[in-house]
Subunit: 367 residues, 2 copies
C-alpha cells in the first residue's frame, strides 16, 4: 500500500501486466481441460497438448496486447473476460503458425528451445522407435499445429461474437490473409530468382503486408476494437496506425534475422539466409548490387550448407549495396507514419501511450 496515487503510466503498466497474467491463466486452464480430454483417449496423446503449452508460455504477447488496447481504446472494460479470451485465441493461433512455419523452414529451434517437430523427433530417437525419425517428427508436428489451430478457433468461438459480426469477419480475414501471405513467401523463395530484379522489393513488400503486418499488427488491434463495438472510423484509424507499424516490425525482424545477435534472437546466425527468405532487405540488395554480387546472392540464398564465409559475404553485400541502410530508412519512415496516425486517434491518452510503447518496442527491438 502506498499513500501516493499511481501515475497514469504506472496504472497502464499494471493493467497490461494483469492482462498478460490473465491470458496466461486462461491458456493454462484451457489446455488443462484439453489434457483431461486427451487422457481419456490415451495418455500417449498428452504430448500434443504439452508441446502447445510449452510454446504458448513464451513470446512477447504482442498480438494479444494490441488486441487488448484496441478494445480499451474503443471503450471496452479493463480485464473483461471476452478480451482475455480473444488474446488467448490469438496466442494459440500464433503458436499454430509457428509450429507449421518451423516445419516449412526446417527450423530446429524456437524461443530458445527445440521446435515442435524436433521435440517429436527426439522422442522417436529416445525410444528407439522404427522407421524414420525426421518423418515422424514432421508428421506429429503437422497434427499438433492442426490441433492448435482448432484450439485457437474454439477459444475465439467461445467469446460468442455473432456470425455476422465485424469481429468474426476480422478473425476470418486474418486467417485467410496470413495463409495466403505465407504461401507467397515460400513461392518467392523458389520463384524469386526467375522474376525481374526490379520488382523484387515490391513483391517482398506485398508479402510482408499480408504475412505479417496485417496479421501481427492491424488485425489484432482492429479485432479488439471490433469486439468493443468501435465505430468504422475508429477502426480505420487503428488500421492507419497498425499497418505501417506492422510493416516496420517485419522489416526489423528481417534485419535481425541476418544481422541480429543469436544470443538475443534465439536463432542461429545466418538462419534466414539458409532458409532463403527473399525479404525487402534482399530485394533492395538485388536491386542495388552490381551483377557479380547479385549473382552471388541469387545462387547462394536458400542453400542449407552455406559456410560462415559465404554468410559473411552475403552480409557484406547487403551492407555495401546500401540495402541495410535503405531498410533502416524504410523502418523510420513507416514508424513515423504509424506514430503520426496514432497521435490523431480519438482515444484516451494513457491508452495511446500504451500503444505507443508497444509500437516503439516492436520496431526498435533487438530480439
Amino acid at each position: 500500500m502506498t499513500a501516493f496515487a499511481a501515475t497514469p503510466q504506472e496504472s497502464t503498466a499494471a493493467e497490461q501486466e494483469a492482462f498478460v497474467t490473465a491470458v496466461a491463466g486462461k491458456l493454462t486452464a484451457f489446455l488443462a481441460e484439453k489434457s483431461m480430454l486427451l487422457a481419456g483417449i490415451s495418455t500417449d496423446s498428452l504430448v500434443l497438448v504439452d508441446s502447445i503449452a510449452s510454446l504458448v508460455t513464451g513470446g512477447k504477447r504482442m498480438r494479444a496486447l494490441l488486441c487488448y488496447w484496441g478494445w480499451r481504446g474503443a471503450g471496452g472494460a479493463p480485464g473483461a473476460e471476452e478480451i482475455i479470451m480473444a488474446g488467448a485465441s490469438l496466442e494459440l493461433f500464433q503458436a499454430a503458425a509457428l509450429i507449421h512455419d518451423d516445419i516449412i523452414d526446417r527450423s530446429d529451434t524456437r524461443r530458445g528451445g527445440p521446435s515442435v517437430h524436433r521435440q517429436f523427433g527426439t522422442l522417436h530417437g529416445r525410444h528407439g522407435w522404427s522407421l524414420d525419425e525426421e518423418r515422424f517428427g514432421h508428421a506429429a508436428a503437422i497434427l499438433t499445429g492442426d490441433l492448435c489451430l482448432s484450439f485457437s478457433e474454439e477459444m475465439f468461438a467461445a467469446i460468442g461474437a455473432g456470425a455476422g459480426s465485424r469481429a468474426r469477419a476480422v478473425f476470418n480475414l486474418m486467417r485467410t490473409e496470413v495463409m495466403a501471405g505465407q504461401y507467397l513467401d515460400i513461392l518467392e523463395e523458389v520463384s524469386g530468382p526467375t522474376k525481374p530484379h526490379g520488382t523484387a522489393v515490391a513483391r517482398a513488400s506485398a508479402i510482408i503486408r499480408f504475412k505479417s503486418a496485417k496479421y501481427s499488427s492491424e488485425h489484432p488491434l482492429v479485432l479488439g476494437g471490433a469486439l468493443a463495438g468501435a465505430s468504422p472510423e475508429l477502426l480505420s484509424g487503428y488500421s492507419a496506425f497498425a499497418l505501417p507499424l506492422g510493416e516496420a516490425f517485419q522489416l526489423r525482424d528481417d534485419v535481425l534475422g541476418v544481422f541480429g545477435d543469436p544470443a538475443q534472437t534465439g536463432k542461429p546466425a545466418g538462419d534466414d539466409l539458409r532458409e532463403g527468405k527473399r525479404t525487402v532487405l534482399v530485394g533492395l540488395t538485388i536491386d542495388a548490387a552490381g551483377e557479380p554480387e547479385r549473382e552471388f546472392v541469387d545462387t547462394h540464398l536458400g542453400r542449407q550448407d552455406l559456410s560462415d564465409a559465404e554468410i559473411g559475404r552475403l552480409c557484406s553485400i547487403m551492407v555495401d549495396s546500401g540495402a541495410l541502410a535503405g531498410t533502416e530508412e524504410m523502418i523510420s519512415a513507416l514508424s513515423s507514419t504509424a506514430f503520426t496516425a496514432l497521435a490523431g486517434l480519438p482515444i484516451d491518452g494513457a491508452i495511446a501511450a500504451a500503444l505507443s510503447a508497444l509500437g516503439r518496442s516492436a520496431v526498435s527491438r533487438t530480439s
Copy 2:
C-alpha cells in the same frame, strides 16, 4: 411431371440428391468468394483455393449425408440453409484432413488425381523453380490444409450455433478427437513393433474409434441432430448406431487398403502396407501368425521399397493366419449391432431407411 405419387424411397433419394447438390453449390459459392479475396492479394495465391475446390468436388459425402439425416431424424426441415452449411463445413474439414494426411502418409494420389502436395511439386517442376521441389510441395500443402481447416470452421461458425450449444461442443470434440486419433495412428506405426503383440488389436481398435468411427460417423450424425435440437436420448441412440457403423466402415477401409482393387479404390496396391498402417487387420495377423511370419510382418511393414513379392507374402500371411476372415467377422458383428440400434431409433421410417442404405454402402463398398 408424372401422374403417380413418388414412393417414400423415391422421395428420400430425391431429397438426398437435392441436399448433395446444395452442398456442392454452397462449396462452389464459398470458394468463389475466397478466390476473389485471394485475387486481391495476388493471383499467384489462387492455386490454394483451386486445389481445395478440386478436392471437395469428389468424395462420397458420407459425413455430410449422415449429418443431414441426423438433422431430419430430429425434425429439421428438408433442405434448410443451416444443415447445408454444416454439410459443407464437414466436407471442408475432411478435405483439410486429407491434404495433411497425404503429406504424412507420402501418398501421391487422392481421389484418382495427384495429391495436393504432388500438385504443388509438379507446379514447381514445370516452372523450373529453384531449391527443392518436394520440400516446396510439402510446404505449400501444409498451408493449403491450414487454409482449408480455417474455411471449414468459418463455414461452421456462419451457421450461428451458440457458443455454449451442443452442436458447437460436438464440432469442437470432433476436431480434437480426430487429431489425437491420427497422432496415435502414426505413433503406432513407429512404436507398435516395440509393444506387446497381444495388445495390438486393442490398440488398433482404440485408434480407429477416435481417428475414424467417431469422426466419420458418430459425430456427423449427432451434429445434425444437435443442430435440429434433438433430445439427449435421441443423440445417444444416434451414437449407438453410428459408432459401431463407423468402426465397421474403417475395418472395411483397412481391408480394401490391402486387398482392394486399385482400379476401384484409386490407390495403388500395397499402399497401406508401404505406409505401415498398423490396423486391426495387422493386429489380428500379428496375434495369430507364427513367429517367422510375425517377424516378417514387423520387419517389412512400413518399408517404402516393398517389392510386389513381399506385398504378396504379407497378403498371404494375413489370409493364412485367419486375420482377414477375423476382420470380416468383426465387420459383420459391428454392422449387426449398428443396424439393431438403428431399428430401435424413434425416427421416421423413410429417414431410417436412408440411414440404413448409407450404412450398408459404407460397410459393403468396394472402393
